[in-house]
Amino acid sequence: MIRRIVRFLDQRSGTAPLLRKTLRYVFPDHWSFLLGEVALYCFVLLVLTGVYLTFFFDDSVARMTYHGSYAPLDGATMTHAYASVLHISFDVKAGLLIRQTHHWAANVFVAAIVLHLLRIFFTGAFRKPRDLTYLLGLGMLMLALLEGYAGYSLADDLLSGMGLAIGYSVAMSIPFVGANLANLIWDGPFPGSSSFWPRLFIVHVLVLPVLIGGLLAAHLVLVASRHHTQFKRSARESERRVVGIPAFPGQAPRSIGLMLWVFAVLFLLGGLVQINPVWLWGPYHVGDATNGAQPDWYLGWLIGALRLVPGFDLTIGHYTLVPNPFWGGVLFPALVFGVLLVWPWLERRVAGDDAFHNLLERPRDNPWRTAIGVAIVTWVFLIFVSGSADRVDVLFGLDYATQIWVYRVAVWVVPLVALFVTKRVCDELVAGERRD
């Protein structure tokens, strides 16, 4: 039976040799090597659930008066887009499950990418010959942030509408060309013309998924072609020989199992834990706002930055060189991604190391990289946390204005401290091992 299928395939495609090789492709075995796959399976589920949602979503900002199933919004003025999301949530059977699973999958997708990125960075997996693979991965991270933002903004609810206004302001804040760019994207001043929503929709359901899919395919091809990095566990692993589990039969049930676990977690969340209940926020109107509005978690670092920057537009005479949101909304993420993007080359130049690296380092084995990485993570994380200072005031009574001042100092001081402490810890750990 198996023979017949394989023969059929090989006769028509000639892929038997490739398949034979692929079946015994070597996977080095460590739990942290599975994090990228978690992201992959989230993406698969995002596409599947996303397609389903497109069968019901209406990308029109034409206004209407709602008289649907959700009574508290009866008589409310809203866009067709928002009404269609209400329809999916209340009238389409399993619609809410799919919608919530989709949104949870987006949140977990970015979390998995971040965990995967941390693993790649702190073990030095980005080094030659995998620096291109790493760049593709960073590209996917940037696109995933945009994709998630576009996705949850499509519902046109009060919360995400406020977020879009902020996005518009960030675009406007780019020196010289910001207004031109914002005008282009929105087709005029905010909230934009009736073309903007179809534009946002196509970007979210076609342009970005295809781009991410393309980068993903290239990323996976490169990973496979260069083979996966490995930790040196014994004498057998080396820069020349990779040791691990074959794809078939060993790795297959693990990977398939991981996919099934990811689906399980996401569907359980999608059914059991409410996410983005847009009917409670109400539709977006330019003149409305709600307290406690936050972006989805992966943009929390930006709201923190926007809140920390002191209130000034940088002007020269009548020229507004740098409107305020630029520092936190554009320069900050550009810096972080910029450093991440050039890191492989930076490290090569500083270390004078141009060789291939197939063996991974434990974080402690490269104290400077680990220390600087921890410092950067601390910097971003503190800024991220500062975005919740108002919540902390409400919960614990710590004055918001005071917190902002503390953060303004802490986000520079604490990473430096973390840098030196981490370097020291790494050195001590390695010295301790050498003694034993």
Partner: protein, 244 residues
């Protein structure tokens, strides 16, 4: 009953009632003097500059002339008052007074000039209330009345507010909250707002565990502390660990 006994009983009641009333008034006045006067003045005239009080705190407070039973009822039943320190933000606290004491105090404060009575809200429209609440209230109190922050103060959630307290607060504008008279929010509109706030105490949560109705903040917490944690655990189950 024999007529004489009836007459004596009636006379006794006639004499005692005013006394009882006077005792009640006296009780309110006594309570007021003990708990409120150091900040609000013995006759509700207010204390403009900090004046050392009996309880060791410098008393300072706005006048209560004309605030009526409405304000007193609100501030006392929520526990906003008495306030230990005039610089603190009033917040919902355990009420130390008994029902009788509150009534007495309310009567006492109401006696400081003609003020509005305690309002009685009626059933209203949740959908009309949703629109009104989003317009006038959500900026501070959040779309589903979970509260939040305004520069310089915490905005309370409305989960514990009774219908009457909601109506009172809208009219009074306690602490830093703006006030809305019947011109700004008609009685019918107020009923609608009350109906909506009541709805927010048990809103439609058909999506599952509502995690506080606070939006992306708890959603992010679930993403990392539940989902990511579970999936990392799954990875350690499926893959090997590195033994040093």
């Amino acid at each position: 009953m024999r007529p004489v006994v009836r007459l004596v009983t009636a006379l006794a009641l006639l004499l005692l009632l005013p006394a009882a009333a006077a005792a009640k008034d006296g009780r309110g006045a006594a309570l007021y003097a003990a708990n409120c006067a150091s900040c609000h003045g013995l006759n509700g005239q207010g204390v403009a500059t900090p004046t050392p009080g009996a309880n060791g705190v410098d008393g300072q407070g706005p006048p209560l002339r004309g605030v009526g039973a409405r304000a007193a009822d609100f501030y006392l039943r929520t526990g906003y008052m008495p306030l230990a320190n005039p610089h603190d933000q009033p917040s919902r606290k355990h009420v130390v007074f008994t029902e009788a004491e509150i009534r007495a105090l309310v009567k006492s404060v109401a006696s400081f000039g003609n003020g509005p009575p305690i309002p009685t809200p009626h059933p209203g429209s949740v959908s009309a209330g949703q629109r009104l609440f989003t317009d006038h209230c959500a900026g501070c109190h959040q779309a589903v009345a979970q509260g939040g922050y305004v520069t310089g103060a915490r905005v309370p959630p409305l989960t514990d507010a009774t219908d009457r307290q909601i109506a009172e607060a809208v009219r009074i504008g306690p602490y830093l909250m703006p006030r809305f008279s019947t011109k700004a929010i008609t009685p019918k509109q107020l009923n609608d707002i009350v109906a909506y706030v009541d709805y927010t105490k048990h809103p439609d949560d058909r999506g599952g565990w509502p995690i506080g109705h606070l939006g992306p903040w708890p959603e992010g917490a679930v993403t990392w502390l539940l989902a990511a944690a579970a999936l990392v655990a799954v990875c350690t189950l499926l893959g090997r660990r590195l033994r040093a």
